[in-house]
């Protein structure tokens, strides 16, 4: 059967193993005390070479499995460099890259101890360049720190195929962030009582949670189709990735905002984790870059 959206056994196994690794090395709570956020455990797991052919030292899986892994990474707010590195490996098979974007005439990136390069979003393109940790500026209330430098001359631009891969994997992480934020809010709403009942029993909370879940379901279904189309270099890959890149960031920002609101007072404090999901959504959105759906041909055209 050639039409099949059931996750394969391979995929389930990869995700089970990833879950164990992430629970051990990247629990979200680690970010509260600013612990050293190394890529080592991810590297050892093979996260960055999952989709490379086994003849080239990879695990021989595809972008579809890799996308699902990045959903899990998003849920755990894995280091931003994990996303940049997975994409950068398409340009340089040995790269370990920080995540970055351009602002006017400068590059900003999120430096990390184990990265010597940065993958920078510049308009519609991506470029890989050497980058060290210079003096940093705090961003988003101090949860992130940006390094800043003028654009490097010594940069390599990603090709069109890598651009699509970047849209898929970044959206996958955004989806994971949305799921993580929604689940956090649900857990809180079931525990927290006001006016003598759990706030999860109020329609305002329920309906918001339902809307979050519809958004998550949309992005999740679209992610599968876009990942399959990109893997197979289908003619509609550009269309699907573009749709995904348009929906994923707004769904995640909206879900994370809702998660803070559902938490009430504690959601506005840095002691709950809800804000970490919101801030990561903004970082990933900035890295995903702009997109215009209308530039593509519709898959079934002409109607």
């Amino acid at each position: 059967m050639s039409f099949d959206l059931t996750p394969s056994d391979d995929l389930r196994q990869i995700l089970d193993a990833a879950q164990t690794m992430l629970d051990t090395h990247y629990p979200v709570a680690r970010l509260r005390d600013g612990s050293d956020d190394s890529l080592a455990a991810l590297d050892e797991f093979g996260a960055f070479d999952l989709a490379r052919p086994d003849t080239e030292g990879g695990a021989g899986f595809t972008l579809v499995e890799e996308a699902h892994l990045h959903v899990a990474l998003g849920r755990h707010l894995a280091p931003p460099a994990a996303l940049a590195t997975a994409i950068a490996r398409r340009i340089d098979p040995t790269a370990t890259a920080a995540l970055g974007f351009s602002q006017e005439d400068a590059w900003l990136w999120l430096p990390q101890p184990d990265t010597a390069q940065a993958l920078i979003r510049v308009g519609n393109g991506l470029t890989l360049a050497p980058a060290k940790a210079t003096e940093t500026t705090p961003a988003l209330g101090g949860t992130y720190a940006f390094a800043k430098a003028p654009p490097s001359q010594n940069a390599r631009r990603a090709d069109a195929a890598t651009h699509l891969v970047a849209q898929v994997l970044t959206s996958a992480q955004l989806l994971g962030v949305a799921i993580g934020a929604r689940d956090l809010a649900l857990a809180y709403a079931r525990d927290r009582e006001q006016f003598g009942r759990p706030i999860a029993s109020f329609q305002a909370i329920k309906h918001r949670a339902a809307d979050m879940s519809i958004g998550i379901e949309k992005v999740s279904a679209l992610l599968d189709m876009a990942a399959i189309a990109t893997r197979d270099a289908s003619p509609d890959a550009g269309f699907l990735c573009s749709a995904l890149a348009r929906l994923a960031p707004r769904t995640t920002v909206e879900t994370a905002r809702g998660a803070i609101q559902i938490h009430g007072g504690i959601g506005f404090s840095a002691e709950a984790d809800a804000h970490l999901f919101l801030k990561r959504a903004h970082i990933l959105r900035a890295f995903l870059g702009p997109d215009d759906m209308l530039e593509h041909k519709a898959p079934l055209a002409p109607y």
Binding site: L11, D232, L300
Partner: protein, 376 residues
């Protein structure tokens, strides 16, 4: 996970396209009344003759037994050919009554009704909602009293689509007055020509008459017309929800995508404009709805309540597209039925079959396991 069409798939698609191109009606469908019935039954009869009716029904019952992937291809070609909307007066029979009889009917019920449905010879309507029980089917009050080998039916139904032109009705009534809420209901085949039935058509806000109120005054229905067991009607009614949501959604979703493409073409908005951004969003939303619909069709036949997510997503996108059309096209849309009629009809999306508010409750309680509200 794979979405590659095989050579056989492509051959099927080409066959569907050729047939649809040669056979689809030239005129658009009338909105209501007997002419709409004739139009719809003629078209269904022609599909039947061509071997294209009951596509998802088992072959044993005269259907084509197509797997979901083939259904997807068919509906994509169907809508692309601008064939008549599947949401016409044959919809309830093909997507609801027929599959219910297949799953729960007696041999005699199947033998009589299924061929009539597939051939476009009988039209069905639904008789679930009542004036006091819109989204709350457990509050149904119309009764069927057993007298000998008959049920004597009294009461009232509302929002019964096409009741004014239907031959049969799926009628859900309370047959055990002692039981409460979901218990004690029965699912009965009601012949609409029986004495004691009065149909009062209701004009909708788009100015057309799909809906009707139906009144039952000592209507005598033989007990042989009960489907499933007496007093087990709730479970019978639930049987086909999944079927309806899975297959019907495939066609409707493609219809929406085409609407968006039509609007994009018509608006011809400059890049970067507010209108272009809005259309870009609608196109992305339509792509996501397609992905959700495919996922539901290709992956999750046994999870009945996941349907609420895709159903609500569909309803809201349908409204959003028509609303955007009214905003973007301006005064021109007000007197253009392609847009203003469909816009007004789209209001039913978040009402019919359970309001959007009820759908959100269902998603929250059944999928997300959030606690129910305290009852009054």
């Amino acid at each position: 996970m794979d979405l590659t069409a095989t050579q056989q798939d492509e051959a099927f698609r080409a066959r569907a396209r050729d047939w649809l191109c040669a056979n689809r009606p030239a005129e658009p469908a009338p909105y209501d009344g007997p002419v709409s019935r004739t139009y719809a039954t003629d078209w269904l009869a022609r599909c039947h003759k061509g071997g294209w009716s009951g596509l998802a029904w088992p072959e044993a019952y005269g259907g084509q037994g197509l797997p979901p992937a083939r259904l997807m291809l068919w509906y994509e070609e169907y809508v692309r050919a601008r064939a008549p909307s599947t949401l016409d007066c044959t919809f309830v029979a093909l997507n609801h009554a027929g599959p219910t009889l297949i799953a729960r009917g007696t041999d005699a019920q199947k033998a009589f009704h299924l061929p009539r449905i597939l051939g476009g010879r009988s039209i069905w309507c639904q008789g679930f909602s009542e004036p006091g029980a819109g989204s709350d089917l457990a509050a149904l009050r119309a009764t069927g009293r057993v007298e000998g080998d008959e049920l004597v039916v009294n009461g009232q139904k509302i929002w019964s689509s096409y009741a004014d032109i239907a031959d049969y009705q799926e009628l859900l009534i309370r047959t055990d007055p002692g039981a409460s809420r979901h218990h004690g209901l029965s699912w009965v085949i009601c012949d609409m020509s029986l004495p004691g039935i009065t149909v009062r058509p209701i004009k909708n806000i788009a100015g057309v008459t799909h809906f009707a109120e139906v009144f039952y005054d000592n209507v005598r229905i033989p007990l042989t017309e009960v489907v499933g067991d007496l007093n087990d009607g709730w479970s019978v009614a639930m049987t086909t929800l999944a079927f309806e949501r899975r297959t019907a959604a495939l066609a409707l979703q493609v219809e929406l995508s085409v609407k968006v493409e039509d609007l994009i073409r018509l608006a011809d908005a400059p890049a970067g404009s507010a209108t272009s951004a809005r259309l870009s969003d609608l196109r992305a939303e339509a792509a996501a709805l397609r992905a959700m619909t495919w996922r539901t069709a290709l992956r999750e036949p046994d999870t009945p309540f996941d349907g609420s997510l895709v159903r609500l997503a569909f309803a809201e996108l349908a409204q959003e597209i028509h609303r955007a059309a009214m905003d973007i096209l301006g005064p021109a849309a007000l007197a253009d039925p392609r847009w203003s009629h469909d816009y007004l009809e789209s209001f039913s999306e978040t009402i019919a079959g359970g309001t959007a508010e009820i759908q959100r409750n269902i998603i929250a309680e059944r999928i997300l396991a959030m606690p129910r509200e305290p009852r009054a």
